[in-house]
Amino acid sequence: MLLEIITPDKKLFSGEIKSVKLPGTAGSFGVLKDHAPLISSLKKGNIKVIDEQKQNHSFAIKGGVIEVLKNKIIVLAE
């Protein structure tokens, strides 16, 4: 599953991951492999990523939006 976290200034993260946890406006949620297509807005919080090597990554964001489509996740963060 491919994850991309982009901000207007630069690309924060890009790579294959196992799972990701996001701060959605309607509540925190996680995305695993083969998730249904989803568009959700995000609020201030941390994005927690677990990559293929089971390494943890964390990114603080101020808000944004996420699109999940065919095992490709794109986070537009601020």
Binding site: D9, L38, I39, V65
Partner: protein
């Protein structure tokens, strides 16, 4: 024929100017590269955002965008002029300034007559030009170019959006504060020039007797509740009336702004319905916002662009996006997402304009410095020719003198 020394001086000064211009060209070239990189960095974000936005709006029937998309009669206009902080870049800045001027006197001449056109300057060249014109000038954000980042730009964009949304409240230019109930003033809490918010207390009249009466009525009400329902009802009405009166002794500002005049002092008696203070609405509000900037086309050419910023023009729906409108899950809901995304898209729009202008500025400076270096070369060639001519002339003159002297000695 100029003297040798004169020409030599001119040659050295031209050479040093040429060195400066060619150095500036190099600097601009490297800055242009960085500015271009920033644009390229921003592109995937902007592209994806647009895609999601059109994806959501295409399946949304109601006029999405809410307050930002609503067209209002254009009474007040804000023009955002984006120039550079530094000069020496050809017609780059003057093009923007000329475009703004033609908008002010052409398209928005009517609004300008009433003084309702304002220019927000981004870049020192624009603020230098417009700060002389108090009627148009609305402040500047020259510091943006020192450290061009999305976070800084977002703040400016938020300010503009706020001023735009406030315009929707239909706030009046000015408002008078009237005394609802007459009486003796016991407290004045503001003075002329103070900033007040809507609903802020400005002054109070003597209300002790009313407060006392309220207490009495409340007491009577408490005791009558148990016994007489008819009496308690009438008492309740009286209480309501008294509370209204008490409210009337407090003079509050109706709008946010600053106090321009205050006609009361402590101890004075005022009749009801006299104007006690005058509040001027100092908040700037706009019905339309436009951005004027140089769009970056390539290093040698810029495209002067005027973009409508607010109200938001409908995002054109990509026909291919419609096909891909799979059954997305929308969290928390389509409308909420659009509401969230539109301010974001607006920030990106301003950021893009700034990045474009920044890259265009360096491009323009690069070409104009290149031309300056070329021109210096040409001048140098001419000067060297005159220098050599002058040198030759003196040598010929000296030889002639020597030959003439030798001839004279022979005889």
């Amino acid at each position: 024929m100029p003297s040798l020394k004169e020409v030599r001086n001119r040659i050295t000064s031209t050479i040093s100017t040429q060195q400066i211009t060619s150095a500036m060209k190099m600097v601009s070239a490297s800055k242009l590269r960085r500015a271009q990189d920033a644009i390229i960095q921003m592109r995937p974000y902007a592209g994806k955002l647009k895609e999601i936005l059109s994806n959501v709006t295409s399946s949304l029937e109601s006029s999405a965008g809410g307050i930002y998309a609503k067209e209002r009669p254009v009474k007040k206009v804000l023009l955002v002029a984006i120039t550079s902080n530094r000069g020496l870049c050809g017609a780059f800045n003057s093009n923007v300034l000329r475009a703004v001027n033609s908008l002010v006197h052409g398209k928005y001449a009517e609004q300008n007559k009433e003084g309702h056109v304002k220019v927000l300057c981004i870049g020192k060249k624009a603020s230098d030009f417009f700060s002389k014109n108090k009627k148009l000038y609305a402040g500047h954000h020259n510091e943006l170019f020192n450290n061009l980042s999305f976070a800084n730009t977002a703040m400016v964009a938020e300010d503009i959006m706020k001023e735009y949304t406030q315009g929707d409240l239909g706030s009046d230019e000015d408002a008078n504060v009237r005394a609802k109930t007459g009486g003796t003033i016991i407290r004045v809490l503001a003075s002329v020039g103070d900033n007040v918010t809507a609903g802020q207390l400005i002054a109070e009249t003597d209300n002790r007797s009313i407060i006392q009466e309220i207490a009495e009525v409340q007491k009577a009400l408490a005791s009558s509740k148990k016994t007489d329902t008819n009496e308690s009802e009438s008492l309740e009405k009286k209480l309501e009336l008294l509370q209204e009166q008490l409210e009337g002794t407090k003079f509050k500002s109706l709008i946010s702004g600053h106090i321009t005049s205050l006609n009361i002092k402590v101890g004075e008696t005022v009749a009801s319905d006299t104007i006690v203070a005058h509040v001027h609405n100092s908040l700037r509000t706009y019905d339309r916002v436009e951005i004027i900037y140089n769009q970056f086309k390539n290093a040698a050419s810029q495209l002067l662009t005027t973009e409508q910023y607010l109200p938001v023009t409908k995002p054109e729906v990509d026909p291919s996006a419609k096909k891909r409108t799979l059954d997305y899950i929308f969290e928390p809901g389509k409308e909420e997402i659009v509401k969230d995304l539109i301010p974001n898209a607006l920030k990106i729009q301003l950021y893009k304009a700034l990045l474009d202008s920044n890259a265009a500025e360096h491009g323009a400076r690069m070409t104009s410095m290149h031309k300056a270096t070329d021109n210096a070369n040409e001048i140098l060639r001419d000067l060297r020719l005159t220098y050599n001519k002058a040198r030759q002339a003196t040598i010929t003159k000296e030889i002639l003198e020597i030959v003439g002297g030798a001839e004279a000695l022979k005889n």
